[in-house]
Symmetry: C2
Subunit: 761 residues, 2 copies
């Protein structure tokens, strides 16, 4: 997993980002405004890739290996090829399928249809036909003969000497160690030492829009409409696969129904669609079904974390040690990370060891704050236990041990750190003290509260270029490369433009996420979209504003400094009656449009900007049934400036809902007898529904007024909103019941068992 | 007709164009390279608007008035509405059809379906249906009751007091006068005075792709795919009609099969398609048939030009006088212009009067050098006659009287004037002297040569903004607003990028002509596309180059001045072996892409840049049949730098082919009894075919190495190529036969009659 790195050396030739003063009072930014595409979203006119239809488009489906581990002996396609509507059958011998499939720059490679199938769900063949039904019929008519191999699905077993080898080089992917201070000495000298082994479940991405691509060739040029988090990453990967110049691959991302990390890297379905389109000279759509996407399109792998922590009676945290074990599945990815353990609290002595292994399971992919929620699950429960052991309130214990610099990176200072305020303000709003002091009991119902803190470190891809174009009538076009994966990116960016140019949101049209027509922006993931793109948007709008005010100053015969832009008008500050609509500026009409360019490289020199958070949970445990009901949640986040209040709240509530799933209900189950997933559908894989989410959720934004992080003051929110939720719930369950749950999810069955053990049944 | 005006006052806030030195020796620019879209064009994969199919798209057709002048009394649509597949029937009472239809900012307005039909072909109603056949069937089922009115189709008759009034205000559109010097005195003092009345035909635009739009609404936003010369003009007109912000109207221009001026202004078909799409909530395509487009989508109106000229025996041209009469058809447009008369030759005393009238005929539209070919027809024949009268060779006479400043605009000097070289070099290459000295006769076949000169003054719309984006692998994206209407704009612009960045043409991808994703550029018309956009493209490429060379200089540890870009590499001038592919520059990969911005306002201060030309014709007249065969044509053009030799030649040969049509075959015929066009099809309206165009055509580019006109040195070629051709043919016919043909086209029938008159039959 790639993490935040300070800016590489200034690259020659690169313009410096505009020096802009921080905003004072804002008129638009921070408000609760409806989404700019709200009408399209709720009326159903928004076209997602899944909705896209091109003339003469074919539909493709994938034949998948049903075995956890197997070799393909023979693929017989003749019957499928003869079926009605079938236009192409693709197998390992299809020209173009022989190209190595890379996972990053090193590590094992695979093939589009690899004869060595390493998990149940791996791609073996594909069919493109006139209708999706014909394609499925033909897919079923493809006969595949397999040699079934022994498999391993447990990460600990995978390390055993006689375990079946997922890859020739063995199952060990990567081992890393991190250390600072003298951990042994600290443990020896500590007043209190605690430890335990925690386990978190394998969690599946479940974006409402599944995984889908539409591919079309024009001569040697490939256009792909893709439900993706990053068009530029997809462009690079497709250009690499098909050995094309980057500009010969155009990737367009229409509306996206969620990604959560799984739509960052390229799926084989996209390349299969492109290959089928090339074979047939027809556009091809390939939409992965929900069931297949659960098998094949990513997960947050299960983590086993052995944690040990030490403190002094005065509440000083003195040592932290963690051993992390996780499986990336069948192909290289990232499974575990000790980042949170090593960075969240001020702790001079810390050590971590990580082990990642291959197993015969679907490949892991980035998933909302990848390994942070598992780490928070272990760390924040351990911190709670330490606090209890020394008889200190968990809030007080945390406040005593907050980090003020990034110990992981040479004690780099933060541009701002609002974690203290998150905890204090959050606790006050939550009514922590009174709720904590008296856990409630009502017959078999026990009620308790808990909290957890968190932070997030985004990967560093700091560059973005944005254009803002003002038309002669005062309407605006915003051109940016970032995808809006459903989080409201378009709304936030339009609000930035509206803030600077004083034009109504309805008059801002957005072109985005198209490698052919927009400029580079990092993929929308890692909570960095607003962080990277909003300063670029602001800079572009300020560029337009400067040009516009020069025109206005000349025509109004007033100095530009005495003019502001508001409600589509140029308004003299000292004579509002002399305001002039933009559409009436002669110079603007003559120029036809004003184009502004904004660029962004966000790293403040010698400092680091990261978001922090604290969340509070109020739960009710039914000691008869073991059911845990989340009654209240509160999130206090320092994600810098609140750019758009509604989307901010959406992110926070969405992150916490996902945290409920992580803590209470979600768990991919592989059958130990067959290695196959037994719950690859929404009936058996339980994501939280509206009934599982508390009615009472509170969002407490903490704005540290960070003027150093970047020129909009935003620090990123998507991942932090999800990091501490499950841990806070587990701490509340402990508060309610005295039961410390080490293994997520806290299912009713587990709860009943643990309650019985606690009672000594 | 709008003509070249010096730049308006510098607009505040507008960046100055980059100061770039002129190119020295070029590596790419000027060469004969295949079109960048050649494969798509010849393979048929290029998608024109006419080819476009959207999911659920409806097809619309227009019901047109069959009478030259009528009032609509009643429109009965019930039968049509009930027909299969019909989804909408549009009439004057359809909401949205009541909006005034403007022709420029003043002058009479009309309606989408006006109850007062002013020409045979005017729009009365429309139908949108599932298939185009269903739409035609339903259109035929619409019953329209007309009150037929008296009509006028002759421009002279239209001025008579009792002529039927096309508009309430009468038929006179505009009268203008121009004068300099003392024309009366000059005529009185001249050695020779000559005169005559010339007439040129009404010529119809015949682009291979007819007139077609596809419209789709997304909520309140309109997207139109349009076969148009200018997406930004179309956007403005549609936004005005539908009262939308400009950014709510996106106009996209795919491949275009020609325009010739007729696709500059918005046709009612486009708005009808948009209105039908709004009514049905479906995409709607409306493709005007060839027959209907001849009726309704523009023409170059017939001109009647009374010309008088005077000279001294020494060859000095002393006076010019012209009276111009033309009809704009039923709605405001431009019909005549004395520009060429007043500007081509140095003549101290000149006077012109123009009269434009309404008639009951289809509306005129801009048509390749609008009124210049008619003026050249009259002027260049008169100059020939003057030269003969004083016993001077026409080449010598013209050389003696060349203008060196623009007399029409305060004697503004030209940045360059290559007309003298055009005439001298053209004459030499053509073998003028020997051919001119002995007209050949072979029985009834007479052979002769003639020449004519020309110049062109483009309308001033000087602004364009262009982006060039270099990707990490060295491939390039060029983003520009100009349409490529078939003339090779994309190829020329890509060559400019290749020149500066040293990347192969195949690695340059072009996004163009899309108001949503490209920046303002003037419409592709008036020979200004290359003039305005190529300097902006160059500036954008140079911007990229500067940034790229800074990266390369740092990585190669050499000064940027010692590096050149060639073949996708950075090459140290003094150590070519140390060349590095762009794809290997670390800084480029880090930056992901380099974006360059280029802007252009082309007018050099206090000077004017215009193109000039001379063409030479060698014809054979069959004195028995009257047929004129063009045996040879030569064009010598000063259009500044040759940007792309193949497209240059294409333009020249295309312009001359069109000149053959103008001079010999094309003529819209309105029936005097009914006012209806009798030849609105390609069988009866004769455009030249391959057999009418001489095998021997020569293109002689004259490059004056103009470093002042703009930073690429190009001056525009599309219109000049068409201006003198017909006049040169007419002069050659005179040389061959002694018959001076005043009325174009020189049909066989007219020729036979004039030959008989000359013989005194």
């Amino acid at each position: 997993m790639k993490h935040y790195l300070p800016d590489p050396d200034q690259i020659p030739g690169e313009a410096q980002p505009q020096e802009l003063p921080p905003w004072g009072e804002t008129r638009v930014v921070g408000r609760s405004l409806s989404r700019v595409d709200g009408y399209e979203l709720v009326s159903g006119t928004a076209v997602y890739t899944l909705d896209l239809t091109l003339p003469d488009m074919l539909h493709a489906v994938i034949v998948r290996c049903p075995h956890a581990h197997a070799r393909v002996v023979r693929v017989e396609t003749s019957r499928a090829e003869a079926m009605p509507g079938v236009r192409a059958v693709l197998t390992a011998s299809t020209p173009g399928a022989e190209i190595p499939w890379y996972f990053g720059d090193d590590g094992p490679t695979s093939r589009l249809f690899d004869s060595h199938c390493r998990y149940a769900g791996e791609e073996v063949a594909a069919v493109a036909a006139e209708t999706v039904h014909q394609a499925w019929d033909a897919a079923r008519a493809i006969e595949v003969e397999y040699e079934v191999l022994p498999f391993v699905i447990d990460e600990a077993e995978a390390l055993e000497a006689d375990a079946p080898a997922v890859h020739e080089g063995g199952n060990l992917t990567e081992q890393r160690e991190f250390a600072r201070g003298d951990v042994e000495a600290a443990f020896a000298e500590a007043d209190v030492v605690l430890g335990g082994t925690f386990r978190t479940p394998c969690e599946l991405h479940a974006p409402l829009e599944t995984f889908v691509s539409v591919a079309r060739w024009d001569g040697d040029r490939l256009t792909v409409w893709d439900s993706t988090q990053g068009v530029f990453a997809r462009q690079q990967e497709l250009a690499r696969y098909f050995r094309l110049p980057l500009t010969s691959v155009r990737v367009i991302c229409p509306y996206v129904g969620g990604g959560f990390g799984a739509k960052l890297s390229t799926g084989k379905y996209t390349v299969i669609a492109a290959l089928a389109a090339r074979m047939t000279a027809r556009p091809v759509k390939l939409a992965v079904t929900r069931e297949d996407s659960f098998l094949s399109e990513g997960n947050r792998p299960a983590n086993t974390i052995r944690l040990k922590a030490a403190a002094m009676r005065d509440g000083t945290l003195t040592a932290l040690e963690g051993e992390f074990l996780g499986s990336v599945g069948a192909y290289p990815s990232g499974a575990v990370s000790p980042y949170l353990l090593l960075a969240l609290y001020d702790c001079a002595n810390a050590r971590a060891a990580t082990t990642e292994v291959y197993t015969n399971a679907g490949r892991a992919r980035a998933f909302r704050a990848p390994a942070f929620p598992p780490c928070a699950w272990a760390l924040e429960q351990t911190i709670d236990a330490l606090a209890e052991e020394i008889g200190m309130d968990p809030v007080e214990f945390r406040l005593k041990n907050l980090a003020t610099v990034l110990q992981l990176r040479d004690d780099l200072p933060y541009t701002s750190i609002g974690l203290r305020e998150c905890i204090i303000e959050g606790a006050r709003e939550f009514g922590w003290e009174s709720a904590r002091s008296r856990p409630q009991q009502d017959g078999h119902l026990r009620r308790g509260v808990g909290m957890a803190a968190g932070m997030w470190a985004y990967p560093g891809e700091p560059r973005a270029t944005v254009f803002v174009k003002l038309f002669a009538d005062g309407s605006v076009n915003l051109n940016m490369g970032a995808s809006d994966i459903g989080t409201g990116t378009k709304t936030v960016m339009a609000m930035v433009v509206a803030e600077e140019l004083g034009v109504p949101l309805e008059q801002i049209q957005i072109e985005h996420a198209d490698t052919g027509t927009t400029q580079y922006a990092p993929a929308s993931g890692g909570s960095q979209t607003v962080v990277v793109s909003s300063p670029a948007v602001r800079a572009a709008a300020v560029d337009v504003k400067g040009q516009l005010l020069e025109i206005a100053a000349a025509e109004l015969e007033r100095p530009a400094e005495g003019l502001v832009l508001r409600d589509g008008q140029v308004v003299p500050i000292d004579d509002e009656g002399a305001a002039v609509p933009l559409a009436e500026l002669r110079g603007l009409r003559q120029r036809q449009n004003i184009v502004g360019v904004g660029r962004r490289h966000p790293h403040p020199e010698g400092k680091i900007a990261l978001p922090f958070c604290a969340q509070f949970a109020d739960v009710e445990v039914n000691t008869l049934t073991g059911e845990v009901r989340v009654a209240r949640l509160l999130a206090a986040h320092d994600s810098g400036r609140v750019m758009s209040y509604l989307t901010y709240e959406n992110q926070v509530f969405g992150g916490m809902a996902m945290g409920i799933g992580f803590g209470l209900t979600e768990d991919r189950v592989l059958d130990s007898q067959t290695g196959k997933m037994v719950n690859h559908n929404w009936h058996d894989y339980k994501i939280p529904t509206a009934k599982d989410v508390p009615l009472e959720q509170t969002c407490v934004p903490i704005d540290p007024h960070d003027t150093e992080c970047n020129t909009t003051g935003a620090k990123g929110l998507g991942e932090p909103a999800h990091i501490p939720t499950a841990a806070a719930i587990a701490n509340a369950v402990y508060h309610a019941t005295g039961v410390r749950v080490h293994d997520a999810p806290i299912t009713a069955m587990q709860m009943v068992r643990l309650l019985a053990e606690t009672r000594g049944d």
